[in-house]
């Protein structure tokens, strides 16, 4: 019970963390709440969808892990790169022209870009949800157990070919073969927990890479310099436009990875996919202290856990409907954190500029 809540929470929280990283990096550099960030996540998820579909991941037999792993690697790379390029383009066309026009103008631009990208996605890809491609387990008709141990189908056909518990005698096998069915397919036993484990692992692998990029490379040092005092950075020969573009690239790249991870875990993608996770990730970034990279990770994981733990706790205490208020409770959690620590858990107090 406790382990379930923790894994559910950490798995979802890792996704929030992936998105929150981009929010926090962009905010750290140019003090912009980039509301379109959730849409970069969504576009990444779509690109990952097409890559996985065209690579034929759902045709691969699950017992062959290598091709599947490779397919996911390719899909994630393509998705992340596409999201990153879209972010750079957005920054260049929409945000840079208003960078000096004040924070409200930039914020409204971001909201506008968010709606624009959502609706563009509806126009291009349709408003409906699409099932995310998933590797399956294939069996030859001859190898079917005498009593079917699961639902088996063929990919082209929606209705079931063999239902769980059906008796598969010689006559039934012959009937299937007469229909031209050589192999059947069933959905894998990959549990949601298993996938969430993968997402957590991906976050664990990403965090040191990001840390290294920001702390140990020239680009990262310049990013920190720009975020601490952009005017001084310019006068020291640092090209702000380049640094801002690099930040958008990096932030959206991570969001693209998160997009594929999220949709592969929860099973579908649609143009509104980025909306709620984007909003929650923004909350996560604020809880952790916006502008702080460790804060984004802590805030993401914490919000994820809180979303499952608080309703579970309230259920134990006798409030049967607590689950239905999961989202509302997340916001209550945000309000409590901000009341206690207005700069977020790892945020720095605002330094007065002389």
């Amino acid at each position: 019970m406790l382990a379930d809540v923790l894994l559910d929470g950490l798995g979802l929280g890792a996704i929030y963390a992936f998105i929150a990283l981009g929010y926090t990096m962009v905010y750290g550099i140019i003090k912009l709440i980039n509301f379109a960030h959730g849409e970069f996540f969504m576009v990444g998820a779509f690109v990952g969808y097409f890559a996985l579909r065209d690579l034929g991941v759902d045709e691969v037999d699950l017992p062959q892990p290598l091709p599947i792993l490779l397919a996911f690697l390719v899909a994630i790379t393509l998705a992340a790169t596409a999201a990153a390029l879209l972010a750079v383009l957005t920054e260049r066309l929409a945000y840079r022209p208003v960078r000096r026009a004040g924070r409200i103008a930039a914020l409204l631009t971001a909201v506008g870009v968010s709606f624009f990208l959502q609706n563009l996605a509806v126009q291009v890809w349709g408003a409906g949800a699409r099932a995310y491609p998933e590797p399956g387990i294939w069996l030859y008709v001859d190898d079917l157990p005498a009593k079917a141990d699961a639902d088996y189908k063929i990919r082209e056909r929606v209705e079931a070919v063999v239902l769980k518990g059906d008796a598969i005698d010689t006559a039934r096998k012959a009937a299937l073969r007469a229909e031209g069915i050589e192999r059947v397919y069933r959905t894998p036993d990959l549990t949601k927990e298993g996938k969430q484990g993968f997402v957590l692992l991906a976050l664990l692998l990403w965090t040191p890479v990001l840390w290294w990029l920001v702390k140990r490379t020239r680009m990262g040092r310049a990013m920190r310099a720009v975020s601490e005092d952009a005017d001084a950075a310019r006068l020291m020969g640092i090209n702000i436009n380049l640094i801002v573009a690099a930040t958008f690239f990096l932030g959206a790249f991570v969001a693209g990875v998160g997009g594929v991870a999220y949709c592969a875990t929860y099973g579908s993608v649609k143009p509104l996919t980025g909306w709620i996770p984007g909003l929650k990730a923004f909350i996560a970034a604020v809880i952790g202290g916006i502008g702080s990279i460790p804060g984004a990770i802590v805030g993401g994981l914490l919000l994820g856990v809180a979303e499952f733990a608080i309703p579970a706790l309230l259920e134990q205490l006798g409030w049967a409907d607590a689950k239905a208020f999961q989202d509302a409770l997340a916001y209550v959690f945000l309000i409590i954190v901000l009341l206690v620590k207005p700069t977020g858990l790892l945020g720095k107090p605002q330094r007065e500029k002389v």
């Binding site: 020239r218 040092r221 005092d229 690099a246 720095k348």
Partner: protein
């Protein structure tokens, strides 16, 4: 006569009806150590902002080795070889002293995200060279022991030195010092005078400094420009400036005696 390293021609900056800097023409030849003085509000810091490109000029032009650089923005001018320090210290407070210096090297080739992500050998070589240079600069300014300390945690005098360090990391030809002696005691000031002179020959610098402290400016600069209400009212050697009627009237007053 060879082209000056740096020149402003009739540079003017107006904010609405207020003329912060009016018709200032200033010339620096390679190796010069020049001061710019004037009472509070004379437009000295504004002039620095115009020189570095932090503020655009209203009229007039700015020249670097005979090239008109008026339209270049601040980071491009910095890359030409103009580095500055600030009157109010503008270090990156939460970064270490070492990183404050190293961040300046961002524009070097081989610094791309891709190169760093792949840890290419070229990236590692440049990174090692940068570390080497940054440590040498810190060592030169006596800050080696503080390399890992956050800039904001350094004592005031050390922060000032770190700002000079950071400026030197740009390998500048022209170093602009904005009130380098502000807040220092006489011993520190004497020390700084010595350092500034020494840096000029060590790094082949041309130096322009703004300073309030008359003794400091008179003691170190070969030529002095005097601004008052944004106007350039005098220019010459310290002795000439000290004797100038308008300067005495506008600025030095009773102080001239000391």
């Amino acid at each position: 006569m060879s082209a000056p390293l740096f020149e402003t021609r009739h540079v003017t900056k107006r904010y609405g009806g207020l003329t912060a800097v009016g018709d200032v023409s200033l010339r620096l030849d390679a190796g010069d150590l020049v001061g710019c003085i004037g009472p509070n509000g004379a437009g000295k810091t504004t002039l620095f902002n115009l020189i570095t490109g932090a503020d655009p000029v209203t009229s007039g032009t700015i020249h670097w080795q005979d090239r008109d650089v008026t339209s270049l923005c601040d980071h491009q001018r910095a890359r030409l070889g103009m580095a500055r320090t600030f009157q109010n210290i503008r270090l990156w407070p939460d970064m270490s002293a070492l990183d404050n210096v190293r961040a300046v090297y961002q524009g070097r080739p081989g610094s791309g995200l891709l190169a760093s992500a792949l840890r290419l050998p070229a990236f590692r070589r440049t990174e090692a060279a940068i570390l080497d240079e940054a440590e040498r600069l810190l060592d030169r300014m006596g800050l080696a022991a503080h390399a890992q300390a956050r800039a904001v945690d350094l004592p005031y005098g050390e922060q000032r030195k770190l700002e000079i360090c950071r400026a030197l990391a740009l390998s500048p030809q022209l170093l602009l010092l904005d009130e380098p002696a502000a807040g220092m005691n006489p011993t520190e000031k004497a020390d700084l005078m010595h350092t500034v002179k020494a840096l000029r020959s060590e790094f082949d610098l041309t130096i322009l400094l703004i300073e309030h402290d008359m003794k400091f400016v008179m003691g170190i600069c070969e030529r002095i420009y005097v601004l008052d209400h944004g106007e350039q009212i005098a220019h010459g050697t310290p002795d000439e400036v000290r004797a100038d009627e308008r300067v005495i009237e506008a600025y030095l007053g009773g102080e001239a005696a000391c």
